[in-house]
Amino acid sequence: MLHGLNEILPNQLSKRYEILNQMKSCLEEFDYQRITTPTFEPFTGLAAGWDDYLKEESIQFFNNQGALMTMRPEMTSPIARLVSSRKDQLETPLKLFYTENIFRKSHILRKQEIFQVGIEYLGESSIDVDTKVIEVLIEMLNRINIKNFKIEIGHVENIANKSDQDIESMIHGDYYNLSELPAIGSDEILNKNTYLKQFSEKIDNKYKPYIQYNLGLVKEISYYTGIVFNILVDGVGYIIGTGGRYDSLIKKYGWDIPAIGFAIEFDKLALALEKEQ
């Protein structure tokens, strides 16, 4: 087998398609429309909104005209680039979903080719939209019958007043360096007048059992500007999916609109499902 690349035989595919179709039909019921972008494109255009982390993690090459090209290392930036280039033909809010392969440099515990299912909600920045995105995520996970999952939610304002050293320690998991461990729990850990408090008041009670808050949640990708979240499954030691709000990213591609989105690593989700059954 080619290391870290996707090769799947028909007998393994049927189950995957079943799960994938359930996810797709759920997203379509919530009025998300499918979008697709080039697998690779010119580096200069796509990397406009990238930080060093994405530049480092993406797979790049020169084409036969000597132009630097890059495989897409995630779907948010190619979608941002695409919608910005067609902004005259599009109306907001734009509710998009994708089911695509993305490409990252190989790591010991990570594939190079990763199949993702995700959404982008573009053109509106509000708690209302944030709760809607979390709700559709929970609905979709319920649809495929995954049981013991939690959406772990944080917000960049929780770490805004922390020192660079503390933020660095949180990103790298160096908790021994922190003067206090970040609070993790449900509504009771939320402080008054914070974004997350308002969020928890807004979201329907029926979704609360699936949600926990982590006041120390930080992301390696630095373009997030608001709510950030991870999808966790009990008994599965890795993050299944991740998302957040990034209101100043799409501007870098030429269209000043806010956005929120998430991406699920399909193989990890399928593995978590398998483990539960």
Binding site: I108, L109, K150, E152, G173, D174, Y175, Y176, L181, I184, G185, Q212, N214, N230, L232, V233, D234, G235, V236, G237, Y238, I239
Partner: protein, 187 residues
């Protein structure tokens, strides 16, 4: 391992005598399952979520950079990461093109990169001291506890790069979903 078990015993986790060669065993109350792993393998098991918590050295964490949560310095298992050379060899400054033998490629690279020195790395798997004695390399980078082995083999320490002790580590997803359980082992 004795020190790790002693650490957990203060939280009421007691273990009977461990039969030789047994890799997996339980505590007396059968609440916790223990696994004996090589320290270098501990981060791999923890990162994959196969084990929930582990004890491993900061030297290994710095070398492998696993995506795990490092909770607490446990204080035991002290060692130093040092640069050493043949005691008769005059090393006044590190030179570009210098040959460096080590088991710890990443930490060594990082150290010389930070100093802006380009060195030739030689990856070895054991008895690194021999590289300096035989002239395979100009210097060696290795872990020492007391430094006795270096001295007995006619090597001298040039510089300590960092000091290391054992750390309590945990899987980050497990930590999020079982925060209270884990935090009781940190206090």
């Amino acid at each position: 391992m004795k020190e790790s078990l002693k650490y957990f015993s203060q939280f009421g986790i007691e273990v009977d005598e461990i039969p030789a060669r047994k890799l997996i065993f339980f505590d007396k109350k059968k609440e916790f399952r223990f696994m004996i792993l090589r320290p270098t393998d501990v981060p791999v098991y923890v990162e994959n979520g196969v084990v929930d918590m582990g004890v491993t050295g900061m030297d290994i964490i710095r070398e492998r950079k696993p995506n795990i949560i490092k909770l607490k310095d446990l204080g035991f298992g002290y060692c130093r990461f040092v640069i050493a050379a043949d005691k008769n060899k005059e090393i006044s400054a590190y030179q570009n093109g210098m040959k460096v033998a080590t088991k710890f490629i990443n930490c060594t690279k990082e150290f010389f990169n930070e100093r802006g020195i380009k060195v030739d790395m030689i990856k070895l798997y054991g008895s690194v001291e021999l590289a300096a004695i035989t002239g395979l390399s100009d210097v060696v980078v290795d872990l020492v506890a007391t430094g006795d082995t270096l001295r007995e083999n006619n090597l001298k320490e040039i510089e300590t790069i960092f000091e290391s002790t054992a750390y309590l580590v945990t899987n980050s997803v497990f930590y999020s979903l079982n925060t209270k359980l884990i935090q009781q082992f940190v206090s």
